[in-house]
């Protein structure tokens, strides 16, 4: 399918502590008149209680008591607003390094990453880390917002030197996979967010909202090979639907058409699509992203965790090389067994080896490692108890990631991106 403007655009913020991410999101909502009067009044009151002489718009997203006390974001907040063009879902993520896993969580669904830089500090460790994560997650669009321009006299030369520094880093570290643009802003005073800034007449580009409204997210997913993970088997067992067997799921990539020849993985059984249903509607065709039920011509005995693919376009095995981001306080070690969930399919994996770690502050690669600690990113080799039906993440964002789950605590302890 061609380029389409999505109805829903998902954005995640990034950048170091206090760079102004939450303030920016608060501004965006305030300036688009998306904050109702009672919510605004509540924020004004808490700002006054905190002894501020201005309205602290970051209080809109920093909703937890601990966050308001410390003036920082700890966990992801989801914020919504809409324009005439589309609906926006914003994940406001924490900038503190300790909460990097929450930043990764917020960025995992993002179409756009807004990376903030404090103009006074320029490119810092977190900028490198977050650019790397945007690259790792293949977030299609990165907007670097150089914030707090009001504190540096709206200095054009300074803005340009930061832009050049970031561009040089992106080139040097080969951070590919995204389209990048730059904006000088002041979140506090709402400059270049919705309205242009009179202090920065030298800046001729888009305001933030203009940049967001014009983001075209290519829906590559429908061009990719078909991946239909079976999520649930619908078997009504009533007289009327005695032999009904609907394979329900959300199409990860590609398309399904009535009459398509399909293979069920991992069994390899083949059949043909008899019908595609969405509630009471019969469809001729369904595309990536849709939740449907598929009926096959033959009884192939497929179940949850299996996958329908079109004939001939698959190659999956039990051993995978993968980048991972570790998200637990207990380190990852070689030889340990975890549960793995790839999409809706679950099995067990053993960690066979740790290839390297990327030191995300310097983007240097470290080999000869013995474990992965909280927030470490790097490459590992895994072997699974059954084939992992995943594509390379960089080719197929919707079928290339998995999570690791601790077998004892049941917590989600890591996320992986198949190489």
């Amino acid at each position: 399918m061609d380029i389409s403007n999505k109805q829903v655009l998902r954005i995640a913020t990034a950048g170091s502590v206090d760079d102004g991410k939450s303030t920016l999101i608060g501004r965006l909502l305030f300036d688009t008149k998306s904050i109702t009067s009672d919510k605004l009044q509540a924020i004004e009151e808490s700002s006054r209680r905190k002894g501020l002489d201005y309205t602290d718009l970051s209080l809109l997203t920093d909703g937890l008591v601990a966050e308001r006390e410390q003036g920082i974001t700890i966990d992801v907040a989801h914020i919504y607003f809409a324009t005439k063009t589309r609906k926006y879902i914003i994940a406001d993520t924490p900038g503190h390094i300790e909460y990097t896993r929450n930043m990764v969580t917020g960025a995992s669904n993002a179409d756009v990453s807004l990376i903030l830089i404090d103009a006074r500090n320029g490119l810092v460790e977190q900028t490198r880390r977050h650019l790397y994560i945007a690259h790792l997650l293949r977030v299609p669009k990165v907007v670097v917002c150089v914030n707090k321009m009001d504190l540096v006299d709206y200095d054009q030369a300074l803005f340009e030197s930061i832009v050049n520094e970031v561009k040089a880093l992106v080139d040097k570290a080969s951070l590919t996979g995204f389209d990048i643009s730059f904006l000088p802003i002041s979140s506090l005073y709402g400059e270049n967010i919705i309205t242009d800034s009179e202090h920065m007449s030298w800046y001729l580009g888009d305001s933030l909202i203009e940049a967001l409204e014009s983001v075209e997210v290519k829906s590559h997913q429908t061009d990719l090979p078909t991946r239909f993970p079976i999520q649930y088997v619908i078997r009504p067992k009533t007289n009327e639907h005695h032999d009904y067997r609907g394979y329900a799921g959300k199409i990860a990539s590609g398309t399904l058409k009535v009459g398509d020849k399909v293979t069920v993985l991992p069994s390899g059984a083949v059949s043909e699509i008899k019908s595609i249903q969405k509630y009471k509607t019969e469809l001729k065709e369904a595309v990536a992203g849709e939740s449907v039920s598929v009926l096959l011509k033959d009884d192939v005995g497929a179940s949850r965790g299996d996958m329908l693919v079109k004939e001939g376009d698959f190659n999956f095995g039990n051993e995978v090389v993968s980048e991972i981001c570790w998200m637990d306080n207990t380190p990852l070690v070689v030889g340990k067994t975890y549960k793995i969930q790839h999409g809706v399919s679950e099995s067990r994996v053993k960690i066979l080896g740790l290839n390297h770690k990327v030191k995300t502050d310097s983007l240097l690669v470290e080999t000869n490692i013995s474990d992965f600690l909280l927030n470490d990113i790097g490459e590992v080799v895994l072997r699974s108890s059954k084939p992992i039906l995943a594509d390379s993440y960089k080719d197929n964002r919707n079928n290339g990631a998995f999570i690791l789950i601790d077998e004892f605590t049941n917590n989600t302890v890591g996320v992986g991106f198949v190489a």
């Binding site: 109805q7 008591v65 601990a66 005439k84 619908i234 959300k250």
Partner: protein, 301 residues
């Protein structure tokens, strides 16, 4: 407030149906918490769609405070009948009688907080491992922080600092003994998304969402429905006005808005031009700045 072309973005429905199916696949004893409000009505439609032509593979639970709008109860029973659903009702009054909950007193007395006690008792009684609820992240600032699969401990408590990372659309519902999960399939919907969905799907909703004549009185700048459950003082005068409700909670904590919107299109128009949020009419949130976060720590939905 603007809205994308007045349409409901269908990818939200695909996402919610996916979540419903994950619940059915990952849990042994899920339940859908049904209040009779527009959000839980939306959940029922999503569950219907997720398993069609099969039946919804889990029951509904209504935690009945005894302070409901009668219209809501009538609506609930008709819906259950029409769709052939299984409904459990558990009463806050029973928890009070058993002395595991204590009735509040005073002008602002409400049973809203007591619902938690009855809910936790029902979870234990039926051994529910997942409770599906209609909370949305746009409702309130503590909700904005919650995951789609939100793990609660034995006491139903939410620990904001120990939330599991939720990556892409992969949901981890594995729990330890004693824990249960609250599931929020319409986390990413806003109030207007719900209304547009109701309009596009032609869903029936309780009549109190539309403009009607009702006995009300004024308190703290808001319009309250008259009922035997609310403690009034002499200065609070009953009058009949044309109003509607934006949310359906208890009669003791849900304020009305003056309105003549008698059809869904007009309700939507009204919401689009409203300057006050949906929860601005809920007295339970006004108790303190962190009211919702605190209630959730104690197992509230």
């Amino acid at each position: 407030m603007n809205v994308f072309d007045g349409q409901f973005p269908r990818e939200l429905e695909d996402e919610s149906i996916y979540i419903m199916r994950e619940v059915a696949a990952q849990f042994e004893r899920p339940v859908l918490l049904f209040s009779g409000g527009k959000d839980s009505i939306t959940l029922v439609r999503l569950a219907e769609k997720a398993f069609y032509p099969g039946k919804i593979p889990f029951p509904l639970l209504h935690v009945d405070t005894g302070h409901n709008f009668p219209e809501t109860i009538a609506f609930r029973d008709a819906l259950v009948e029409e769709l052939g659903l299984e409904l459990h009702v558990r009463y806050v009054q029973d928890s009070i009688d058993k002395k595991i909950a204590v009735e509040e007193s005073g002008k602002y007395a409400s049973r809203n907080a007591l619902q938690t006690v009855t809910l936790l008792a029902a979870i234990e009684e039926f051994k529910f491992d997942a409770c599906i609820g209609g909370a949305r992240r746009d409702e309130e600032k503590a909700r904005a922080k919650e995951r789609v699969f939100s793990v609660r401990d034995d006491f139903g408590q939410w620990d904001a600092k120990k939330q599991r990372p939720e990556l892409f659309d992969m949901l981890n519902g594995r729990i330890n003994v004693g824990e249960n999960v609250r599931v929020f399939p319409i986390s990413n919907w806003t109030e207007i998304d719900v209304w547009n969905y109701i309009r596009e799907e032609n869903l029936e909703i309780p009549s109190i969402y539309y403009a009607h004549q009702r006995e009300v009185f004024q308190r703290d700048g808001m319009i309250w429905p008259n009922s035997p459950f609310i403690n009034k003082d002499e200065s609070e005068i009953i009058e009949t006005r044309t109003v509607r409700f934006r949310t359906v909670g208890d009669m003791t904590c849900t304020a009305a808005v003056e309105s003549d919107a008698d059809r869904i299109e007009r309700v939507i128009e009204e919401i689009l031009s409203a300057t006050i949020s949906e929860r601005g009419a809920r007295i339970d949130d006004k108790r303190s700045e962190a009211a919702m976060e605190k209630r959730k720590q104690y197992g509230y939905f």
